[in-house]
């Protein structure tokens, strides 16, 4: 069984935000109104966030990371779910079953990475946009928690495709939208169980770091950054 992971090379990322938009349109995330946004209810599964600053005064630069669900190998969110609406799949992806979620938001409270989002409203969106929804992804109902799923629908499609063609799933068959669109190819996605995959090699890179390693959540999304850029 594969164990999917992702490496993000901060030395390549130039904060263009294509991953953010790609996630938004690929997963039919709601566009919230100005009022909701002012309350802090913007829905993003992927966002760019300023981690810190490096450098000295004349040349201070922000360290900005694309932040998505890190797909913990030991996820705190699944532990607390009262109805098993969020769970870890065998391939390591932490998924959410929207029709099962009761909306208690306990998983959000226990997510140390703050990457889960809640559907506070059914926002008014132009009906025209329903036409360009991604038909592979369910539109979430109000009152449930949602999260990044590594574009699990793409895995499903790739598996079906592979089965139809009587072959095994190849590594290049499945890639999440954010990783696919990155203009500077900062994302590397693949199977962490395969020691020869590109992502496994990067996991051994000296530049590798993960967010909040001390919590022992064993994130499968990790970053690469060489200081003194």
């Amino acid at each position: 069984m594969a164990k999917y992971g992702m490496a993000i090379d901060l030395n390549k990322c130039n904060q263009c935000g294509a991953c953010v938009t790609a996630c938004k349109v690929e997963n039919n995330l709601q566009i919230v109104s100005k009022e909701s946004a002012a309350k802090g209810r913007v829905m993003q599964w992927m966002r760019l966030t300023n981690l810190s600053y490096e450098g000295n005064d004349p040349d201070v630069r922000p360290v900005t990371i694309p932040s998505l669900c890190v797909q913990c190998d030991d996820p705190p969110c699944t532990k607390v779910c009262p109805v098993r609406a969020t769970y870890k799949r065998d391939d390591g992806i932490v998924a959410q079953i929207y029709p099962q979620c009761i909306g208690c938001r306990y998983c959000m409270a226990n997510c140390p990475y703050n990457v889960k989002v809640f559907n506070w409203f059914k926002e008014d969106q132009p009906v025209e946009y329903e036409k360009c929804y991604n038909k592979d992804v369910a539109v979430r109902m109000k009152g449930v928690v949602e999260k990044c799923t590594f574009c699990i629908h793409r895995l499903q499609k790739a598996k079906e495709q592979a089965a139809a063609e009587h072959r095994k799933l190849n590594e290049e068959d499945y890639i999440p939208a954010c990783a696919q669109v990155c203009p500077s190819h900062a994302f590397t996605f693949g199977d962490l169980d395969d020691p020869n995959s590109a992502v496994s090699k990067l996991k051994r890179d000296y530049r590798k770091f993960v967010l909040q390693e001390e919590l022992g959540t064993l994130p499968k999304v990790f970053y690469l950054n060489a200081k003194s850029m």
Binding site: T21, V25, R61, T64, Y129, Y133, V181, S184, M229
Partner: protein, 729 residues
């Protein structure tokens, strides 16, 4: 979308309720309107089509996903040498622009201040009548065309039309033209690309190669490769943006002073006698220019006026002179300051001192052979001409606006608005009723990019690349390709016209025909070639077999484009003649300081003309980097902010001589002390008060004297806290 369980239950529920209440079959047959599209839509068949993105000069190849012939998603084409599978936010949301609820659905005529729907024929007749009347009186000079398009084909059409109809005042406002105009002025030629095979040092003057350039996606990758080879990039600028972010060194400087910095660096080269001796031949009046520089630009003097330490200038100078093929790069953004064009000229001189070794040109460029006037991109008048005409005589009879929202993009908007409302006839080809088209008497909306046929030429990769923008969907509304309107006008008005084609499609095909006849290069179906293959191709060997042009055309559409990976490149080393233009007088700029704050407006990445925030997804995500949504924000150095007792995420007002506007304070340690960094792009009227402020409404009337572009970075401002209520982050 299939009928999901909820909808099904709803449907059953409705049916049951129908029977219960009304009874009978009629009630069962009545299907709720909201479910119609779910029930009566096709078999959900997925297809993919290749097209080109038309939202920036890049010409990325797009893979559009269609379900039942309706496009729903767009991704990058992995075989494209420009974007290599990547795609930016603008390209990703090009689909939702197609479905934009505010799109104009058909030609509109203004009657008593209100727009009413009319037929295309009626609209066309009004337009041609108006033009005919003016031309009949031989007053072609009173017709102005302002076209903002990055499409070479359309630019060419506008040029051809204006020539045929005898219209002098054609203003083409596009990225490529604006960026290269200083080169054309100085040398009659312009570099095609940064030659990454040779170039070993890039000195970047404020341009955002990976954000807004001839091909942001190509530069995103190539600059990383460039640095991974160990070469350095020095970037000068007033704001650390994504583009500057990936440079090795950041020189903090006001954009208006780029020229002085460039000359300070030139001083080092001249003093060290380390410049390319060839330059003496390249630059007309070399000795006087050399003397002028050596007399005036001693690094200490430059430090005094620009604030850049003289050691830094000397260091950069040494790097530049040591490099074998350095490139001092600037683009359109340099024009947005009071010294704009002058700065560009100074940088051209700096490049000439090293014989432009970092740049190259495509040899036997197909592009230049098709669009025969090399200077086509620029049009033949500057926006300044329009502004002066309108302000002084105001004799303009007809104004044609295509793709440009110049009121939004200019400072001094109130004056412009007043002046253009006195023009008797304005026709706009805009898809939206925006700040400018609202003044039009007639609107003939253009197709969406996904509905039209076009060719994108791109040589920034060093290879000739053509991507085909093909209609992936039939036009949704009664819109008309502006190119077709122009061709019709050309035939009706242009007595001298010898344009043989009936429409854009025809014209584009004729270009493709030349490509077919030419037989160099290959379709964009492969992007990796062995050396042997390259050699074979160079001597004319080809594997492509087409039975006819139509066969080739179909293959071209299927492949999404054509490119010539086997072509050679030329060195770029033109003669520079700046007599009468240079040396000019640099405006002295007051440096931002602790107490004198400067409004430093920056363009967000990918947003060339402030049109990004017309798209609902992008307007929501405009400030995503700082989690400020739908609001204009100001990035400010925490130390500066604290002196004005402004908290992070608190709301404040920025005051300039033209008024004040609300902002959200965002701490950013990388902002220059004394700068108030405010993004440009929000504040469209079309969105009501939904999203932010256009800061250009509050800038002082400072312009580049040659191009007429407004300065973005020289307005003095104050900031005051408006209340202690903070805003969510």
């Amino acid at each position: 979308m299939e009928i999901n369980r909820r909808d099904f239950v709803k449907l059953i529920g409705t049916a049951v309720a129908g029977i219960a209440v009304g009874g009978g079959a009629a009630a069962i047959m009545k299907i709720p309107k909201s479910l119609e599209h779910v029930l009566f839509s096709g078999p959900k068949k997925e297809t993919w089509k290749l097209t080109a993105c038309g939202r920036c000069p890049g010409g990325c190849s797009l893979r559009v996903r269609l379900i039942d012939k309706f496009p729903i998603q767009a991704f990058g084409n992995p075989l494209s040498p420009i974007n290599d599978g990547g795609i930016c936010s603008m390209g990703l949301t090009s689909i939702s622009d197609l479905y934009h609820p505010s799109r104009i659905t058909g030609p509109l005529k203004k009657v008593n201040g209100k727009f009413v729907s009319i037929s295309y024929n009626e609209a066309y007749n009004i337009l041609s009548e108006n033009l005919k009347n003016v031309i009949k009186e031989n007053r072609q000079d009173d017709i102005f065309i302002i076209a903002q398009t990055d499409s070479a084909v359309r630019t060419d059409l506008f040029n051809k039309f204006s020539k045929a109809a005898g219209i002098k005042n054609l203003i083409i406002d596009n990225y490529e033209g604006n960026s290269l105009n200083p080169y054309y002025d100085a040398a009659g030629d312009a570099p095609g690309f940064i030659d990454f095979e040779k170039c070993d040092y890039i000195l970047n003057f404020g341009s955002r190669l990976s954000e807004m350039s001839q091909s942001p996606l190509y530069f995103s990758r190539s600059l990383i490769d460039f640095r991974e080879k160990g070469y350095k990039i020095t970037a000068a600028g007033s704001k650390l943006t994504g583009g500057i972010f990936k440079s090795d060194e950041w020189v903090r400087i006001q954009p208006a002073q780029f020229g002085e910095l460039a000359l300070g660096i030139a001083y080092v080269l001249l003093k060290d006698e380390q410049y390319d001796k060839n330059a003496e031949k390249l630059i007309t009046g070399f000795d006087s220019i050399k003397k002028y520089i050596l007399d005036n630009y001693y690094p200490d003097n430059v430090e005094k006026s620009t604030g850049v330490p003289s050691e830094t200038i000397v260091q950069i100078g040494r790097k530049f002179e040591k490099a074998k093929a350095p490139a001092a790069y600037f683009d359109e953004t340099i024009l947005y300051s009071s010294n704009g064009t002058l700065n560009a000229q100074a940088i051209i001189i700096l490049n000439a001192l090293k014989s432009f070794k970092g740049f190259g040109k495509v040899k036997d460029s197909f592009y230049s052979s098709i669009i025969n006037n090399a200077n086509a991109a620029s049009g033949n008048a500057a926006f300044n001409t329009f502004k002066n005409t309108i302000a002084n005589k105001n004799s303009i009879k007809v104004l044609m606006i295509s793709g440009s929202n110049f009121i939004f993009n200019n400072t001094d908007q109130e004056k412009l608005k007043k002046e253009i409302s006195s023009i008797p006839f304005i026709v706009s080809f805009s898809s939206f009723i925006d700040e400018t088209s609202t003044y039009a008497n007639l609107i003939i909306p253009d197709h969406n990019d996904l509905e039209k046929l076009d060719l994108n030429f791109n040589e920034s990769t060093g290879k000739s690349v053509i991507t085909v923008q093909q209609p992936v969907v039939d036009p949704f509304y009664k819109t008309t390709d502006t190119g077709d309107v122009i061709i019709s006008l050309m035939k009706d008005l242009g007595a001298k016209s010898d344009f043989p084609y009936t429409g854009v499609a025809d014209y584009v095909k004729s270009i493709a025909k030349k490509l077919y006849d030419n037989r160099t290069g290959t379709l964009m179906t492969e992007n990796k070639f062995t050396e042997i293959e390259k050699g074979l191709r160079k001597i004319g060997w080809t594997s492509d077999q087409y039975s006819s042009f139509d066969d080739f055309w179909d293959s071209l559409l299927e492949a999404g484009g054509w490119w010539n990976p086997f072509g050679d490149k030329d060195a770029f080393a033109p003669k520079i003649n700046l007599a009468g233009k240079f040396p000019g007088k640099f405006e002295t700029i007051e440096m931002p300081s602790k107490n004198k704050l400067t409004l430093n407006i920056f363009m967000k990445n990918l947003d060339y003309r402030g049109s990004m925030s017309l798209n609902p997804v992008l307007v929501e995500q405009f400030g995503h980097l700082w989690s400020v949504f739908y609001l204009t924000w100001v990035e400010i150095n925490p130390e500066t902010a604290r002196r004005f007792s402004l908290d992070d995420r608190s709301s404040a007002f920025i005051k300039t001589s033209k008024g004040k506007f609300p902002v959200v304070v965002v701490y950013n340690s990388s902002v220059l002390a004394g700068n108030l960094d405010v993004p440009f792009g929000l504040g469209h009227d079309i969105l009501g008060d939904k999203a932010g402020i256009n800061p250009l409404m509050f800038t002082e009337n400072i312009f580049d004297k040659v191009s007429g572009k407004p300065s973005l970075t020289e307005t003095k401002a104050e900031i005051v806290s408006s209340s202690s209520r903070s805003i969510n982050g």
